[in-house]
Symmetry: C2
Subunit: 364 residues, 2 copies
Amino acid sequence: MTILDRRLFGPGPSNPYPEATAALGLPLLGHLDPAFVAMMDETCDMLRTVWGTTNARTLPISATGSAGMEAAFVNTVSDGDVVVVAVNGLFGQRMAEVARRCGGEVVEVEHAWGTPVDVDRVVSAHPHPKVIAAVHAETSTGVRSDIAALGAAKGDALLLVDAVTSIAGIDLQADAWGIDVGYAGTQKCLGVAPGLAPFTIGERAWERRVEKPRSWYLDLGLLGGYVGEAGTKGGARTYHHTAPVAMVASLHAGLTRILEEGLPAVHARHQQAGHLLQAGLVEMGLELFADAGCRLPELTTVKVPDGVDSAAVRRELLERFGIEIGAGAGPYAATVWRIGLMGHNARPDAALLVLAALRDVLGR
Amino acid sequence: MTILDRRLFGPGPSNPYPEATAALGLPLLGHLDPAFVAMMDETCDMLRTVWGTTNARTLPISATGSAGMEAAFVNTVSDGDVVVVAVNGLFGQRMAEVARRCGGEVVEVEHAWGTPVDVDRVVSAHPHPKVIAAVHAETSTGVRSDIAALGAAKGDALLLVDAVTSIAGIDLQADAWGIDVGYAGTQKCLGVAPGLAPFTIGERAWERRVEKPRSWYLDLGLLGGYVGEAGTKGGARTYHHTAPVAMVASLHAGLTRILEEGLPAVHARHQQAGHLLQAGLVEMGLELFADAGCRLPELTTVKVPDGVDSAAVRRELLERFGIEIGAGAGPYAATVWRIGLMGHNARPDAALLVLAALRDVLGR
């Protein structure tokens, strides 16, 4: 068997931190082992740090980021609840779909792809929504939106935020920005394999939550016992489901690595790598897709030059260099590339490599 | 850091097959990489073999076994549908709860814990249920029920089966037995870490499925594109969510190992290890909990002797020998132990070890 060693420079997964990969290979612990309970406690604590929150109810949900989205809505939205969704890309669209399935009366506020969320339009879309939902870092377009401004203007609504591509890559302050419910993924800037959804919910949202959500698996009322409520560290756990032990161990290792480096340094590393990449792409004569001023450093969108076959370029990068970059999303599938330098890949050498390979394949 | 090396002889997770652990440490593939698409195809094929099915729609759902249960009900049960649930342990109870959350009119057919499902009582509980649900191997009691007999008597109902603790441990024939929908977990006899739910659904159930389930994440209509429909191997995939790539690679490795050994040999190994364990427990003067004739070889339930502190024994096993065994479930938490010899642990040396350790701690 040949083991493939890819450079994952697409929109995710990224190559995990070596510490996160190594942890996957350690002997497995039982999900009720005192050592695993302690590891889960520490994982939740470290997640609080990267979320910028003191929320007691902060945990890794046992499924991928999209299940985190579903957990966010199924626990806050029931039949007839008004949900305003800021849509500026694929994941905003998905939020609207998931909210509708929960029975929500969804008001979609459409934006052009590549632009950030317009806070005024969103908060004036309905007089008294139960929930306002937005994506912090749109994975489909490479755009950052101003969640702090949205939080300041949310009024009585609960603010529900997708931080899948922002967590541990750019500044994220759940408490200071007024995020009531947030979900993320492990496979982007956290530098861990996909499979868990870091999640946080604050007191305001907790008090207004759906008492008995349609989903048993994602019912936060039951999950509280699974990870232990605040103040019961090391205390009794209520069995809910079998924790994905290996993935939690890997997340623990990735978070430890990140916090040892220090969040500001990690953010700076993402900033520098993304800047290097974006400057290099422009220098190569390519045009960036996302509006200037809202570009994510960790995920760059760039237009496919006229006359170039997007898929052929991606295939050649993969086959000749073992480098994966992403196609565009939705309507931009054939006309945009997405290049992620996230987590362990947020390094100058990775930026140089993808630039050199693109230059080679494009003949520029 | 001291790395703990536990012997996981509880009700799950079990120690994974070495091949499954090794696969977790391999370089990560992108979830759209052609090599990963091929690996997913092979994984689904191998899952068909261990399920005993030719169902096109057989896949690893991206969450733990309990999410498999939720996927089974949310795709087949909507408001007002009658669901008969055979309850002979904790997981039957859970099925009833999940079915109710999906809006089902649930008829629970209660059985004493430790006994198998009474097929006559179950099929006569309602004249025309949409779904009849039962657990093949009750993890809470160590009991095997006769699913073939239930399938033969199901009439027009869809038969929905929990195979979490039976898959790859004892005989399981989804097609021959008339199972319409089945879900399982990876962390028991499949010998892979927890985190995925092997799932299968046949044509009858597919035609009667819920068109737009409340859950987006577990919507089988959308997941078809995620893994590729039958006959489209290697063909285009529709992006749904990011596959938990490392876990799928691990499941692929575990399944490969199992099928190289051969399912009959794997079943015989579970049978022999369980028999050795159960005979040794009886010889030690302990009393088995599950009714004779329906005892699972892979998961043994045994009564805690009078005057013995169940938790203290488990703690001593863990601390002195690094051996985990399980407490009882539900009403039997303090009075029953659950000892699993599953997957890689279904070996005579594991049986001897747990017997010797128990003898030592109990002073017998």
